[in-house]
């Protein structure tokens, strides 16, 4: 947490002549390099995974990658901007339902149509809900936003369960596979590399976004909203923008998920999935994009591994672990290897130049 404040201070430092607190150069030099290494290792592992995994595990890995994409969307909203979105599944699931309806009623399964459509659905819903919850004359309290998103997700769940057109309790089964021309994406290595490619692209875009000036303002929002407002940023607008972007990413993930699983069901918009994504990000480490990915892989991987033998006990263990992480490792598992400074990154002028400039 302190790192973001410090980064803000570095920014202000130029104008206000506040002495900048600097770490020892050696410490920074080593600390800087861990994040790219972690990201590289994860990428290489993900690229090699289908080669060593059996077929049914590749299908499972594909699902994990899609969920990681979903976790990324929540991490943008909570980890960077500090908006507790307890209803992220609303965008995930509504996009899933949207593309499922496209495939069922209009026979549209072309990848270049359905994925943008899903993204757009997520974006629209997030824009509407986020705009309503976040904008307005009086800034909304964090509690209101988190309960508002939670309620939105719960209400959508009830609606999906009761609406015959959406398949009611059973959801929409047997969605046709996603297609590109005559080629059909079915479960397997091709689908895996497709979603991995999408994840990498989205990850890089997000990384660019959070390391930009915009990302710095977001990190500032998370740490001290009032201060950012005093700097002249429109805090509410920033929040609404990142919320909408998060919704779009969740929508993309949701449409991929719907086609991969081949069906959508009410839980997908509901509280269960909404809280699941919170678990992923908290475990991995909020405020680092890679933390969200790692958290998803760990939680899903371990639960897949344990669910055969310890199906009943696993959710209890999950709860206990979550409690321990919240109490003792609020920055998630990634904080074991990653320093505080790297969560925020460097902004503006390079630190080296600054040291030379400051007498």
């Amino acid at each position: 947490m302190g790192a973001a404040k410090q980064a803000v201070q570095v920014e202000v430092g130029d104008e206000m002549d506040v002495p900048v607190i600097d770490h020892a150069p050696a410490e920074r030099g080593t600390a800087r390099k861990i994040l790219p290494i972690v990201e590289g290792v994860v990428l290489v592992a993900a690229l090699l995974a289908p080669l060593v995994l059996q077929d049914y595990l590749t299908v499972f890995a594909t699902r994990v990658i899609i969920l990681a994409l979903f976790a990324l969307s929540f991490d943008l909203v909570w980890g960077y901007a500090g908006i507790m979105s307890f209803g992220q599944a609303l965008f995930f699931g509504s996009a899933g339902y949207g593309v499922a309806l496209l495939a069922r009623d209009l026979d549209i399964t072309n990848i270049v149509l359905v994925l943008p459509a899903g993204t757009l659905i997520g974006l629209t819903f997030a824009l509407l809900l986020g705009g309503f919850l976040l904008l307005g004359r009086h800034p909304s309290s964090v509690i209101f936003v988190s309960l508002g998103t939670l309620t939105g997700s719960y209400a959508a769940d009830r609606l999906a369960r009761g609406w015959y057109y959406l398949g009611g309790q059973n959801g929409i089964p047997s969605i046709a596979p996603m297609s590109l021309g005559t080629y059909e994406f079915t479960e397997g290595p091709a689908f895996y590399y497709l979603v991995l490619g999408i994840l990498v692209v989205v990850y890089l875009l997000c990384r660019f976004l959070v390391r930009s000036q915009f990302g710095l303002a977001l990190a500032g929002l998370r740490e001290n909203e009032q201060r950012i407002a005093f700097f002249g940023y429109k805090a509410q607008h920033l929040k609404a923008i990142i919320f909408t972007i998060g919704g779009a990413v969740a929508g993309l993930a949701g449409s991929l998920y719907a086609f991969h699983e081949g069906f959508v069901w009410p839980n997908m918009v509901g509280v269960v999935v909404s809280t699941q994504v919170v678990l992923y990000v908290l475990f991995g480490g909020s405020g680092t994009l890679i933390g969200a990915v790692i958290g998803t892989v760990i939680v899903e991987g371990v639960s897949f591994w344990l669910s055969d033998n310890y199906r009943d006990v696993w959710p209890i263990i999950l709860g206990l672990l979550l409690l321990l992480v919240i109490l003792f490792r609020p920055l998630g598992l990634i904080s074991f290897v990653l320093g505080e400074r790297e969560r925020v990154g460097s902004f503006g002028a390079k630190p080296k130049e600054k040291r030379n400039a400051a007498p």
Binding site: M84, F86, F132, L133, G136, H138, S140, S141, V142, I143, F144, S146, L147, G148, L150, T151, G152, Y154, A155, R158, L159, R161, G162, W163, V271, T275, V278, L282, D312, V313, P315, I316, L318, G319, L320, L322, L323, I326, L327, P330
Partner: protein
């Protein structure tokens, strides 16, 4: 006429159940400023204890009496061990209590399996008024709710303990300076809120039967009710619960249940957006 009366009774009894569940939630939210996600699981525990007493062959009412005490004691312990660390950060408190709730819920699920277990009503039969029959047990719930509400009100407004609680709520540092042990007050209040949830669970289990997601069903309704009513007073959440409970029970009589269900939430969120302080603003009883 008879129909309208039955409808009114249904609405009233559902409203009473929501009030009962929201009371504890509202007290904890007002006192500590945290929204306790584990509250639904306290309800579940109360229901489970009642079921346990029934399954062991004890009279059901014994389980119902024991439930609030056991759940209250658990709440006290949890507050001292875990919840206490969360007071500074409301969002972290939500996540932490969510984790707690997950542990409790899944433990109970493991104990009862995925079944719906029924517990008979300790007071069976129906009360007949002319041609109309109303369930005796639901009527009892309404009466008990009124008694509990009255009791809470008296406790908070007329006793020295209530005075301390209100003082801590209004200005914690001044209360500490005046020699009130605020950590103890917080612990006691949390335990009291948990005990109310346990009581609610014990009373509603004959109506809804016991299943692992029993508490979850009421949790979000409870949150919305607290927000609508307004955090910071005793009477606010109760009023909110009355409104939400009445609406949720009344709207399905005039429109499709699916639409009614969603409409209640939408209306509530819109209301809170434009009146963030809730129905009844301000602190006090």
């Amino acid at each position: 006429m008879a129909n309208a009366f039955v409808a009114a009774f249904e609405i009233l009894s559902f409203g009473a159940i929501i009030v009962l569940i929201v009371l504890g939630l509202g007290i904890i939210a007002s006192m500590m400023g945290i929204f306790n996600f584990a509250q639904g699981e306290f309800v579940l525990l109360g229901a489970y204890i009642t079921y346990l007493a029934y399954a062991k062959g004890m009279p059901i009412w014994a389980g119902m009496v024991a439930a609030p005490f056991v759940v209250g004691a658990l709440g006290f312990v949890l507050e001292a061990l875990i919840i206490r660390r969360f007071y500074a950060a409301p969002i972290v408190a939500m996540l932490g209590t969510y984790a707690l709730g997950l542990i409790i819920r899944e433990s109970v699920r493991g104990l009862i399996g995925g079944f719906y277990l029924t517990v008979p009503e300790p007071i069976g039969g129906s009360i007949d008024i002319g041609a109309m029959h109303i369930s005796a047990w639901r009527f009892t719930i309404i009466v008990i709710t009124l008694l509990v509400m009255g009791g809470c009100y008296l406790l908070l407004s007329r006793t020295s303990f209530g005075l301390r609680v209100r003082a801590t709520l209004e200005n914690p540092s001044l209360a500490r300076a005046s020699g009130i042990s605020t950590p103890l007050i917080y612990g006691a209040t949390f335990a009291f809120g948990a005990a109310l949830a346990g009581l609610a669970g014990a009373l509603i289990v004959p109506v809804f039967s016991l299943f692992a997601d029993l508490g979850l069903r009421f949790l979000i309704q409870g949150f919305v009710a607290v927000m609508v009513g307004g955090v910071g007073s005793f009477i606010g959440p109760v009023a909110g619960a009355g409104v939400i409970g009445t609406l949720s029970a009344a709207l399905p009589w005039v429109m499709a249940p699916v639409v009614a269900d969603v409409l209640v939430f939408v209306l509530a969120i819109v209301f809170i957006k434009f009146r963030p302080q809730g129905l009844i603003a301000g602190k006090g009883v």
